[in-house]
Symmetry: D2
Subunit: 411 residues, 4 copies
């Protein structure tokens, strides 16, 4: 089922062993020109070595693309998603899912630029990432040829991979010789770990899995208090300092890390049909999620908020399944964005040993009316007798039902 006649392929290239093997395998299998694309999404690795390694493997300089996409990532992908309060299966902040469409988009842009007819990624045939990459590719360039080596080749074991690397003079760093005890993905929003030692869902993950946050037990005994400022649904500052999207998330990551915030050990349902177990660390994102909900709590109309909440699972599912570049995600985004015009103001939080605790929220657009809610005399702001008619008409259909013998809402 391999594609044919590939002339030039853009490879999502990390510089690591696996994608280096893929690079070589592409050259030898498809006999085509390879263009590498390496993105800084905040995964915390130097990109310099990726360039060197690509050159070493024979890629011509004009075919090596290295981009810092951190601001675009947070501004155009992470923030819109957080406006929706997206949680997959009630828990997961979608850290891996949200990065894939951006990589796909940039790969296709490069393909158009260099006249490539194919793109290639290093995701396996069992996971969600292959879907996310490829749906992105197809949605942006419907005639593109897609190469997914892990679904095609016969390098199905670590041993064979290492052998192939040795045969083709691919440098192998010492620590990559053995099998990693689990598989990792990271970007500015989160780190995920899965596989191998994590495959038994009854076993607690070993501490070594957590690389992005300290243990709550090891976090400071004193809470850290911060204030996050929002404008139209997006965080724009911390403690009075205005920050760009990526700066802000970086800052929140540091705060979350120190306070042991954002760990999640989850069994989730993959789009390809099986359950898997992942360990996620989303330190800054966890803080941002809590803060955004608190900001909305005083600035969003009730029905606006409930409508958003009712559609959130669908939005999260779309992102998880890889349909960022789809009409339905755009439609939901239009609905969500329409709701965020007044979501501005400040939220105060206490960060403490894994906890993100809201301690205050205020806004020039607040819909909270102390005059109406007060237990004190309200000067006629609210007429309590209105409640009687409200209740009676809300109950009317139930009373008519009960009169017809259907007591207590039976049918």
């Amino acid at each position: 089922m391999r594609v044919k006649d590939v002339k030039k392929v853009v490879l999502a290239y990390s510089g690591g062993l696996d994608t280096s093997v893929i690079l070589k395998w592409l050259q030898t299998t498809y006999n085509c020109e390879v263009v590498t694309f390496t993105a800084d999404l905040g995964q915390g690795e130097e990109l310099g070595p990726a360039r060197k390694k690509a050159e070493l493997l024979g890629i011509r300089p004009e075919n090596i693309f290295i981009d810092d996409l951190r601001e675009e990532f947070v501004r155009d992908f992470v923030f819109p998603m957080f406006r929706a309060n997206a949680l997959y299966e009630g828990m997961y902040l979608l850290g891996t899912s949200i990065a894939r469409p951006l990589i796909a988009k940039r790969q296709i842009e490069i393909a158009e630029q260099v006249g490539a007819d194919a793109v290639c990624h290093g995701a396996t045939g069992k996971g969600n990432d292959q879907v996310r990459f490829e749906i992105g590719y197809y949605a942006l360039k419907p005639d593109v040829k897609v190469i997914a080596p892990w679904r095609e080749w016969d390098l199905t074991s670590r041993t064979k991979l290492i052998e192939f690397a040795e045969q083709h003079q691919i440098p192998i760093s010492k620590d990559k010789r053995g099998e990693a005890p689990f598989s990792v993905d990271a970007n500015l929003l989160h780190s995920s770990s899965e596989g191998k030692v994590l495959e038994e869902p009854w076993d607690e993950p070993p501490e070594v899995v957590w690389q992005r946050t300290i243990r709550p037990e090891d976090a400071p005994d004193t809470p850290t208090e911060i204030v996050i400022e929002f404008e139209r649904g997006d965080a724009v500052g911390i403690n009075g300092e205005r920050l760009s999207p990526a700066e802000l998330l970086t800052r929140l990551n540091a705060l979350g890390k120190e306070n042991g915030i954002g760990r999640l050990d989850l069994v989730e349902n993959r789009f390809v049909g099986m359950k898997s177990r992942g360990c996620y660390e989303t330190p800054g994102g966890t803080i941002l999620y809590v803060a955004h909900r608190a900001m909305e709590s005083i600035t969003l109309d009730r029905e606006a908020a409930h409508l958003k909440d009712s559609l959130m699972p669908r939005y999260a599912e779309l992102v998880y399944n890889g349909f960022w570049f789809s009409p339905e995600r755009r439609m939901l985004q239009a609905l969500v964005d329409e709701s965020q015009h007044s979501v501005s103001g400040e939220v105060r939080l206490k960060l403490y040993k894994g906890n993100t605790i809201v301690t205050g929220r205020r806004s020039p657009n607040s819909l909270y009316s102390m005059k109406h809610v007060t237990f004190e005399e309200d000067q006629g702001a609210y007429d309590q007798t209105d409640a009687q008619g409200f209740i009676k008409l809300n109950a009317l259909r139930l009373r008519l039902g009960a009169m017809a013998g259907r007591k207590g809402g039976t049918l």
Copy 2:
């Protein structure tokens, strides 16, 4: 807008000052026989004094009803709701909302038994509880007369209330003379505080508000590990000990309390149209929520789980708004319950300073298949080439869209 010709009324009676004043006011205003009903829902107060006080206020012994409803409360109200993972506005575990229908139901049962034509509650005209009580009443006895003193009388200040009490020889305990700094509701699931000192949403709640949990900072430095056992969606045991519903929730409350778990400071949207700020403590319920989701994570089919998630906001809204006894809640419950047949097994948790951390889950009905998900050789359990067709057909409509010029899912 007062009801007329009330002969006998069943009053939801706590024994406190407010409902004692109501009791007297009913007698003097409606000149009717008063029946008191006091329920133990786990609010943590002795019920003996309520009986004595009712007698003191002239209620005949056969008109005093005192019931321990704790098991019924947890079994028939709390547990069904937790099967749905209900969270109002993404955060609130509905501790007050879920108790009201049970009180309403029992009041109506007593009314039928003693031949009363009216019922009365002590909720104010600004809140949700009046709606929850009265919708319950009407759904169960459509011709019942409803008396809501706070919407009717002119005892609109603390001073007038105290005056009325003094005039009518209602005993006033010392600490009730002054105004409480906030208003409290409690039952086995949670305690809530609102009003007065809590009315400014930018101010952090004073520590005195939290009565049901210790501060996370004061919780033990060592995590507590527990295992919760589930059968068909309901928790049935802790650490190998089988417990009744109320026993189990009581035990979880103790565990949560000690570990500083379950505090929530929230601005929420009331059904009557305004925003309010509440401070909630749901120690056991918070643990139960996390555990139930973890149990479902390995036992529920993906689409079953997603369907539940998509309807959860609606279910929570119904409970919050007081529509427990409604056809639509029953329909959603039927859907939810249908999903829980296999939600059995064990979840292991670590409780630590406000955190409820899942560390393991297992089930005889597990749908997690290590054979399929493994990074190791899977013996053909999963054919990676299937993913290609899966992706291509999922992408087909997007490719057709892009070919028609709508790149990236534009419309």
Copy 3:
């Protein structure tokens, strides 16, 4: 519960007997200045007499407002709603509901212009229209005073109304002396009839009820064929002739009328809690609904269409309940409108004795790909082997369930 100190009130005035009585009653009861507002929404009545009658009843010329709102009505209210394919309870095209917000909006605009502090409408206390008017008023001018005579006065029978009219020299046309056999509302989108002879839902409506369409039996024996042209979700022309929104709907109404199209006899659920029976005629709207769906069928992406469909009941409920001017309706509209960019092209229809039959649709933006769907040789456009992987991964979770003993999707 009457509002106090009304200085100037804007009355939605039809010129008929009922609103003339209201006009006089306002003057005598509130002793306030009355401003009349009469709108042409295509109800098919002359507006001249309304002006004369208002003058006769002592309204000063500068206080008489008469507006032709037909184009605004169709362009800004009917068309946006039809983009959503809104049907209340699966059947009703919302002809009355959609007109109310526009009347409310214009009344408030006039109130602002003339410095009125109150508005008044002639809807009864049992129906939906009072809700629709008043929610509109409050959403646009939160401090407005609302007068709803039918909920306030004691003119509770036809006899008393006539008496009041006679006392106050209000002219009564002969045919208004007796009780109308049913109540009618009409505008450019539809006519509705309800009450009196229609109150028994087992009885077929008498033919006299239908005023806007001929009987299907009386319609021509030969079908009428038309082509409707759409641009971005809105109809813009018929049979090649470009028409303004109101012109177009007028034309469709004539076509529908002649062909007996658009009658509906429905028992529906009112927002105020009871069921009612209505007989609706929406000749042009029925044609437009069918045509718009057909246009979408070739221009909308599948998931875009399904997302719209899943939210349509909510959208229709909002319009029916009177929440046109609400954040949630705006959010849903944003989602709907986002989907309509490519809904352009032509639909051919056959109109015949009550039937609206689609016979063709075409579009420059069509997503229908004959190349892909054809039963003939498709030149490799579609690879049938892709279906295998697609099915296998879609079935994987069900297979895993069945392996765990849950055959056939049991839980």
Copy 4:
């Protein structure tokens, strides 16, 4: 991607040319024992010839299964679906979709009975039916081997198919030599036609396509009036005569046919990602749909009805996509069925030249209260002043929004 080592296969066998070729192809390609299964689902064909032809092609008598499934089809598949008022994409009554799971179920039962390890169907690789069959197979027997000849073989043109048939002495009826002008599927619920002459969506379908209904133009000039009786959501009788499910649908089909009812010409979205055009005839189903909605209109609570309506698109999508045997369809069915307890009574209809017109509905469980809705004096059944409080509290959040500067529901 062919399955291996097939020993015994159960083939869904119609007796027609295509499945006869498949039968032979299975024997020659897989060298396995073939078991034929032919079902009477009301498609209107004699089954005797299928048995003879199977014997002629060498199938042993004990390997020939012929079942009359009409009652099971209507009772356990069609009726549950109609309880949900399922319409795919707002229009399509799912006549083909609903038959596939029953065929799959029976095939698997036979496979278990005869010890077959494989099943085979004659659906193409472009359509929905392959998905519906195979998801059914896998959900009921997760280890079954599935053979889909049209995705595997090289008989990709009519000519090759005929050649193969001639080579293998498969009798070919004269009219099958040429290409059919379109492809047909039929059962007791509907007939569908697609492909070939129907592939251009701008062209009106030729009259020859419609085989199951007469033209509205040719239907009687006088309406036919009928009364359908319902019990708990299912139709149980017509005009006072109690009928079994299949008898009843057969009767309605005859009535629909004569009156030109149930034609639909639709462009729809397939699960496999493309749009296709189908012409459907569902005479009895169309009448049943209208009647069921009318029955619900007086017996279902408003929110029960709206909840059902909001989930209907999802239910219909599940049936269309082939997920009848899934947890999520069962969950939705539980919700739907819970709502139908009181959906009993009678609906009167007029059938006339393509129209199904409701003229009356009545029920012992009716929730329609003339006392409440009447325009006449209602004896205090409904207190109009209740409406004021109802409206004011429903409007409160919008007023608070407008006071905060967000007029008219802006955000």
